[in-house]
Symmetry: C2
Subunit: 364 residues, 2 copies
């Protein structure tokens, strides 16, 4: 820091003048004591398995932490919770901003807790670290659910990469299941790549829409309709009912253009109003039927197993790339080669070979 900067700080000490001593020694000792008292991994596991929400929150914070010590502790806790996980139904909900996701999840979540289900609501939103939590950041948007003792709401983990956020959410699912939550709702914004990540960690994927100007399908995100196990047209109330029903017909027709899903179940399209609660219970019935049928056919377990394999491979591939692209020598050589490729001075394959040669010779 330059001298100028140093002296413009409000936290400076003048030479020769020592600051007053901190008087509240008790407070400091209390804090120090509490810090020492941080529960062990074993204690946290035990508390989570007893359904203790404070322990659950603390463990999730460890998962989300970037501190290497926390990383190890988090791994221990996940490993301890793992045998008690897998007992839930995982439902992904996506929809662009404006479709009323929060209101829908509030209504849907309340419906589930009334059926004596224990509901955890998580989110995958890599943008939230920048926008400070567009999703679930404002818990007040789920006023009733947040007060419900059978619901647990956790905003999106922050992180620079989607991969990082997705990993944290996936590990959080394990802890929530171990804590006894039997229905996990994972919310995501239907823009970018995050819904693909969510799709690969849930059993059922619900696409939330609203009826528009009659041109419902124009501009729908590539691939997102193919992932949906169900499409729900929200805000089907008042003057909107007719339009919502028309949209339902159009989506139904469009869905028939796609090849059959691996589950062999044709996605349903329904309308609902998160405000009037019209159609909410039917949605749960559809999802419930889906779980029953896929359990019977064995597709449910097969999909989970595939997802686990996928995440293992995905993690490996991501780390291999990260190790490569983060080497300072690679970074500078990559820039040179990118330019050479752009100017047609070198073929893409020769450029790649240059970089790989450096990497494997140096064995970073």
């Amino acid at each position: 820091m330059s001298d100028l900067r140093k002296h413009s700080s409000a936290l400076q000490e003048k030479a020769g003048i020592s600051p007053p001593e901190i008087t509240n020694v008790t407070a400091i000792n209390t804090i120090k004591f509490k810090r020492r008292q941080q529960p062990t991994s074993q204690q946290l596991i035990k508390d989570i398995l007893n359904g203790n929400r404070t322990a659950l929150s603390r463990a999730i914070t460890l998962i989300e932490s970037t501190n290497p010590d926390h990383f190890e502790k988090a791994s221990e806790i996940i490993q301890g919770c793992l045998p008690y996980s897998n007992q839930s139904l995982r439902i992904g909900i996506t929809g662009v901003p404006g479709v009323g996701k929060s209101t829908f999840i509030e209504a849907f979540g309340k419906q589930l807790t009334q059926l004596k289900k224990k509901v955890a609501v998580l989110a995958v939103d890599p943008s939230s670290s920048i926008s400070h939590g567009s999703i679930l950041g404002d818990k007040t948007r789920m006023e009733e659910l947040v007060k419900d003792e059978n619901a647990f709401i956790r905003p999106s983990a922050s992180g620079e990469t989607l991969g990082g956020v997705a990993r944290k959410t996936r590990e959080t699912i394990i802890l929530c299941e171990a804590a006894g939550f039997d229905t996990i709702i994972i919310e995501t914004v239907g823009v970018g790549q995050s819904e693909t990540a969510v799709h690969s960690m849930v059993d059922f994927f619900l696409l939330l829409k609203i009826s528009g100007a009659g041109d419902e399908l124009q501009g729908i995100k590539r691939g997102i309709m193919e992932m949906a196990d169900m499409i729900v047209i929200n805000k089907a109330d008042g003057d909107n009912i007719k339009k919502a029903n028309l949209a339902k017909v159009e989506f139904n027709r469009a869905l028939h253009l796609f090849p059959p899903k691996k589950s062999n179940l044709q996605p349903k399209v329904t309308t609902c109003s998160a405000i009037t609660k019209e159609g909410i219970s039917e949605i749960w019935n559809t999802i419930s039927d889906y779980f029953e049928l896929t359990n019977e056919s064995g597709f449910f377990q097969e999909k989970r197993s595939d997802q686990n394999q996928f995440w293992m491979m995905e993690t490996i591939n991501e780390q291999l790339k990260r190790n490569f692209y983060n080497q300072p020598e690679i970074i500078s050589l990559l820039e040179q080669n990118k330019k050479a490729v752009q100017n047609n001075e070198i073929s893409p394959f020769a450029a790649a070979q240059n970089l790989l040669q450096l990497y494997f010779e140096k064995k970073f």
Copy 2:
């Protein structure tokens, strides 16, 4: 080899009986001399730039070879041809077996050579090494084009992986362009992942279809319609004309459901008959317009530059993975961890960490 096997060979020598001496010494010397005479890289480059087809074929054989010496020579040739490449239009053609791809390419290719174009027809078909060349393997299916002095037809390179075949085809494009071919047609079977690879190496992607039982869109491969810059319904002749026109309407409607393409040009749907040649010249007009418009907008160059970057990164990522997954120690540890993940004994992330730790500690 076991003794038993050895003695059942037809090539055995009986102990004590020496084989007759080879008498045709001249022939052997001629072969040896010819081998020594293999043209140098510089000679091949010069000949290719002069449009010599034998040199082109030889160089492509070097690209396709798995011999490490050939690899180096091939790289030199590609590097030498590179400044003279990029001067062509690259057209990808895909369609499932039975749509009449070979007949279509024959008719379309003849149309181009009549317009004084020099046409190279390549193929990407990773299965051809197993099935011994379903695509272009039988050149007689393009009887006229194969005799045309302005056409050059080369079957798919063989190779275990799509990545390998795609690389070889991409490098072959560079050589064909340097040899003066101004239109490169790349054929692929519309099944599996190969059309994605082809899509990422061409300027224009044409999907060939035939009219079916009225249910044209059911079961169409995911994503393939989104890649198409044009859909051509072939076999629109005789009794088929009406059905083909109906299919055209249906495809047109379906295409409007997709978001606009990056080129900002709406894909066209047309019908044709490769037998009667009806509609073939209109197809070239559409493609020609496309090139003109994308050249003006700058999209053409932008796409090529993106494709080159993509192939550089793709090659790096593929090699990183290959190096990892081919280590014997990783292979066995991977199997163990896969099973543990499947039995829910370890989280996918912890399993990935186990493997990565071994890999980076050992620095293979």
